[in-house]
């Protein structure tokens, strides 16, 4: 797949169809990959594809906008691809400005433990959809997991009493150092000014106190409702190991149950949190 990817990247850059290919290259630490920005065909051999291509590169289309005159070609796992589709739906990127190179994905492995990622065990979509190019053989892809597999980790939390849940999250958020890595890697966190940084008035205390940490975690989870594509980057990058996916998974579950909606799966489906109809049953908006 790496050879095919490099070949495609060379073609896109040589023909001028794309001015940059955002993909994965080898990192300096053994066995890891790092995002790379390939702008000439001669550099295409820096691209790699393996089971450590963890980053969701869609973040470079939204909050960390890559500046270029031509089209951006971007390497995307099926889960990351959903983020790109969602960004198109939210008018953050024009679909015609991006060439999506979808990768048939058998799952990624944790950098430290070498074990398959939890999200990959629960993956329903190993073959990319809505992309411009496909690398890999769709026939070789693993079978989709049960649709509820991604919510198994929630069961323990949902079985807790409110007091137990409070104790659980108090302990987890006490570790938060407010580095905002979760926010910065999230393709959906593209606000130019985050409410966490507002000072006049200050909505969320910047101190690493329970009040500040809780408010930050809660508002981020709520903002992810109907938008989180379950790429799991927030939890992966958290340097102190807060299980942030439990929060976003709960939001995804609510959205699925109430609206039958999966963010970034269908470019034409109206996003539940961004649309309303005059005949909606709720009357607060009228």
């Amino acid at each position: 797949m790496t050879d095919n990817l490099r070949k495609l990247a060379r073609e896109l850059l040589e023909s001028g169809k794309a001015s940059v290919v955002i993909g994965y290259g080898d990192a300096t630490l053994p066995g890891r990959t790092t995002p790379v920005f390939i702008t000439s065909a001669a550099e295409a051999d820096r691209l790699v594809w393996n089971e450590h291509c963890l980053n969701n590169l869609a973040v470079y289309l939204s909050s960390r906008k890559f500046k270029t005159d031509g089209k951006i070609a971007i390497v995307a796992k099926p889960c990351d691809l959903r983020a790109i589709i969602n960004l198109v739906q939210e008018n953050q990127v024009k679909r015609e400005d991006v060439i999506i190179i979808g990768m048939v994905c058998s799952g990624m492995k944790d950098n430290d433990s070498g074990k398959p990622l939890e999200k990959c065990n629960a993956c329903m979509e190993h073959v990319p959809k809505n992309c411009d190019e496909i690398i890999g053989d769709p026939a070789s892809a693993p079978k989709p997991a049960d649709p509820n597999a991604e919510f198994i980790s929630l069961e323990k939390l949902e079985a807790m009493s409110p007091d137990e849940r409070w104790a659980f999250w108090s302990k987890e958020f006490s570790k938060c150092i407010r580095c905002y890595a979760c926010r910065q890697v999230c393709p959906m966190c593209y606000c130019t000014q985050c409410i966490a940084q507002k000072t006049q008035p200050q909505w969320i205390p910047s101190s690493q106190t329970p009040k500040g940490n809780f408010s930050f975690g809660m508002f981020r989870a709520l903002h992810s409702a109907g938008r989180c594509v379950s790429c799991g980057e927030c939890e992966r990058v958290c340097p102190v190991g807060i299980p942030l996916n439990l929060l976003t998974a709960k939001m995804r579950k609510e959205i699925r149950e109430k609206y039958g909606y999966e963010a970034g799966c269908d470019p034409d489906a109206p996003a539940p949190m961004c649309n309303f109809k005059p005949d909606d049953k709720e009357d607060f908006i009228r």
Binding site: T34, R178, C179, G241
Partner: protein
């Protein structure tokens, strides 16, 4: 020089607790690792090569109160200062890189102002470091002139010699602690001392000669290589907050009811708001400028003012960076001849 059996470290920690001192050691918190206060030696996880969090928060807490204020009925404000730390503490099982960060921080907190809260914590704390037997691929201490058995910043250094450690009291504070341990330690032979002196585990990761490269940084301030090398940086504060020497902070007043606290919180130069002016202008407009500041501060501005570089090569920023930034690779790339 003294020595202690490897399986007797628990007794040394218990002696610290029995003497009424607070004990801080590396611990596991689920999958997370950090230094933490412990109540029994069994809670220490001395097998951890390097905790995810550095020792820094015990000297410069993530958040600390600088003063409390209360608005009084009928006008006026009552202000009170926090009490400096007044409890003896021992950090047991620090790594030489983490210990080396403390003299670097000291220079900042005593330069134009003696920071009493910081200095009280330093004064009350004795650092016992354990030299590293199996450094990791991310370890970069030799890139900055430190070694897996460096003594700088430690009060006592334990160096592995087979089934035992030599116990080396580096400072006066360290001598007091060794005296407290008394007969729990035995005398090291000349052969033991020679073994300890020869202790030099190989670092598996690539080491960068920052001593010779850092002199080139100033001339490379405007090189386009900064933009190329920092393009992938997403602008979070993980590198700064996990760094044992990053010491930038923000001061905020946070209200609660009729009063509040003035707090000092960690801050990071990678944040876009770090240098954002009230006018809306930002002198470090792009991420490349912010990352360049990180490199320049550590390898140019700080050494120019204080001597050593402000990096101990612990490698936390390499292993925890969400996008795999490697500060040493970046130094090599931006200082390379065009």
């Amino acid at each position: 020089m003294k020595k202690v059996d490897k399986n007797k470290l628990g007794e040394l920690m218990q002696a610290v607790l029995d003497a009424g001192k607070e004990l801080i050691a590396p611990v596991r918190q689920g999958d997370h690792t950090a230094y933490a206060r412990i109540k029994k030696p069994g809670d220490a996880a001395l097998d951890i090569l390097l905790t995810r969090m550095p020792l820094k928060e015990f000297f410069l807490p993530k958040t600390e109160c600088l003063l409390k204020y209360t608005n009084l009925e009928g006008g006026g404000v009552e202000v009170s200062d926090p009490d400096p730390l007044n409890q003896e503490r021992v950090v047991f099982g620090a790594r030489p890189c983490d210990a080396s960060s403390l003299p670097i921080m000291d220079k900042v907190f005593t330069w134009d102002y003696n920071d009493s809260l910081y200095l009280a914590r330093r004064d009350k704390t004795t650092i016992v470091s354990i030299a590293c037997e199996s450094p990791a691929a991310s370890c970069r201490c030799e890139s900055v002139g430190i070694s897996p058995s460096a003594k700088d910043g430690s009060d006592v250094l334990l160096t592995p010699i087979g089934d035992a450690y030599t116990v080396d009291a580096v400072t006066e504070k360290g001598e007091k602690l060794v005296a407290l341990w008394g007969s729990k330690l035995s005398d090291a032979s000349d052969a033991d001392a020679a073994k300890a002196a020869a202790f030099k585990p190989a670092l598996p990761g690539h080491q960068t000669d920052t001593a010779s490269l850092r002199g080139k940084l100033k001339a490379k301030f405007e090189t386009p290589a900064w933009a190329e090398q920092t393009m992938k940086c997403v602008g979070c504060g993980a590198c700064a907050y996990l760094c044992p020497t990053c010491h930038c902070f923000d001061i905020v007043d946070e209200k609660s009811g009729c009063g509040g606290e003035r707090r000092r919180n960690w801050d990071a130069c990678a944040f876009s708001t770090f240098t954002l002016h009230g006018s809306g202008h930002n002198p470090r407009a792009e991420q490349q400028h912010r990352y360049r500041q990180r490199v320049m501060h550590k390898f140019d501005y700080y050494p120019e003012k204080f001597g050593p570089v402000a990096c101990v090569g612990c490698g936390r920023c390499l292993s925890a960076c969400p996008v795999g930034m490697d500060i040493f690779e970046i130094i090599e790339k931006v200082t390379a001849d065009e």
